[in-house]
């Protein structure tokens, strides 16, 4: 085996040492870390910039929408007021008690043998109670039955019209007075009839009937 003498070993050792210089390697590592940090910072700055522009455009949109929304809220309030007002007015119209039917019933059921002295009716604006009071004189061989027929007929007719009507005598008594009707002398009885109605009963029935009609 031939002996080879490396005359450059010192030079090579220096080269290796220069390459493995820890100081230099440390500097490279620091530079790398700083590079990563700078890159990370740029990414964050880009994210911040993107968010800023998104926020700006949203705020611009909001500034126009805010005025529209305020106008819409005001319009909605006005609209709801109008809707509620219309509903309340309709309720006033639909829930009032109409007396035409009662007048017709009274004219239909009062027979020739009965003379009404007074008719009184009340329908409170804030409640659905209706009261009717009829006072008069019934004439006949049996004047009390004449008055009772009037009460019964009145009750039937009012029930047909208004659903639940309670019709009762508050007074029924024979009178000394005698009258002549169709050349017949008849005895008389004084009476007072009170009828109580609930106007809402018929209104509710009507409103329940409406959807059924649509079907």
């Amino acid at each position: 085996m031939a002996i080879r003498i490396n005359l450059f070993h010192e030079e090579q050792n220096r080269e290796v040492q220069r390459k493995r210089d820890p100081l230099k390697l440390g500097m490279f590592a620091i530079a790398f870390v700083l590079g990563v940090i700078v890159l990370y910072h740029f990414v964050k700055m880009a994210e911040s910039s993107r968010l800023q522009s998104q926020l700006n455009s949203l705020q611009q949109e909001w500034s126009t929408k805010e005025a529209e929304m305020k106008a819409a809220i005001k319009a909605q309030e006005d609209s709801l007021n109008a809707v509620n007002r219309a509903e309340a007015l309709k309720k006033v119209v639909e829930e009032r008690f109409l007396w035409g039917g009662v007048f017709q019933v009274v004219m239909d059921v009062v027979p020739l043998e009965v003379q009404l002295k007074s008719f009184a009716g009340t329908s409170e604006a804030q409640s659905d109670n209706v009261t009717i009071i009829l006072e008069g004189v019934a004439a006949g061989n049996e004047p009390r039955s004449v008055a009772e027929n009037l009460r019964r007929n009145l009750g039937e007719k009012l029930n047909e019209l208004y659903g639940t009507a309670e019709v009762a005598f508050t007074l029924l008594e024979n009178d000394d007075l005698q009258v002549v009707l169709d050349e017949q002398k008849l005895s008389t009885a004084r009476f007072a009839i009170r009828a109580s109605l609930k106007q809402s009963v018929k209104t509710e029935e009507k409103s329940e009937a409406k959807p059924a009609k649509k079907k």
Binding site: I30, M45, M69, S79, V83, A86, A120, T122, Q126
Partner: protein, 186 residues
């Protein structure tokens, strides 16, 4: 790898310290405010997005009411035609008197009993008028038909009290006293 000499060790330590200082400075002075800024903007973006979404919903809701409002306004306009302008005492009594006269019933003009604010808050634009009307000589059937016609023609009017009695002077006629309730403008 050769061992570090003292000078090199000092340099490495100094560099590491410098790196630490730079990193701490970067974190405190640049990265931390940047992150805080990003977090704030993210929160703001979410907030503004919600506000815009809410505004859109509100606008759509208001637009959706348009048709209903038009119908309601028609109803209001229609019914307000029965409430004339001006003081109710000026137009209501003559209106009622004229109505009964055209139906062949003699009456005096209704007198005002009182005006009250409407109880229903939705009707705060209006008030209730309560009037008293007297009929000194009526024939019940004809008068009853006139009353029915009046309540049919005036939808905001109702009779709250009716009293009919035989007339003592002329037994073939009756006299009546009626309380009228109606809705009028404030």
């Amino acid at each position: 790898m050769s061992k570090l000499n003292k000078d090199q060790i000092q340099k490495v330590v100094a560099s590491a310290l410098m790196l630490g200082v730079v990193l701490a400075g970067y974190y405190n002075l640049l990265l931390s405010p940047l992150k805080a800024n990003i977090a704030r903007m993210e929160t703001e973006v979410v907030g503004v997005e919600e506000k815009v979404k809410e505004a859109n919903t509100q606008i759509r809701k208001a637009q959706g009411l348009d048709e209903q409002v038009a119908q309601s306004q028609n109803t209001i306009d229609l019914l307000e035609e029965f409430m004339l302008d001006g003081a109710p005492e000026a137009w209501f009594p003559p209106l009622i008197q004229e109505f009964f006269t055209t139906h062949g019933v003699k009456s005096s003009p209704p007198r005002r009993i009182e005006f009250r604010g409407a109880q229903d808050p939705a009707l705060r634009k209006y008030q209730s008028g309560i009037w008293s009307a007297q009929f000194s000589q009526i024939e019940f059937a004809q008068w009853g038909m006139a009353m029915s016609a009046l309540e049919n023609e005036q939808p905001l009017l109702r009779f709250t009290r009716i009293q009919v009695e035989l007339s003592s002077d002329t037994p073939q006629f009756q006299r009546a006293d009626v309380e009228i309730y109606n809705i009028i403008k404030q």
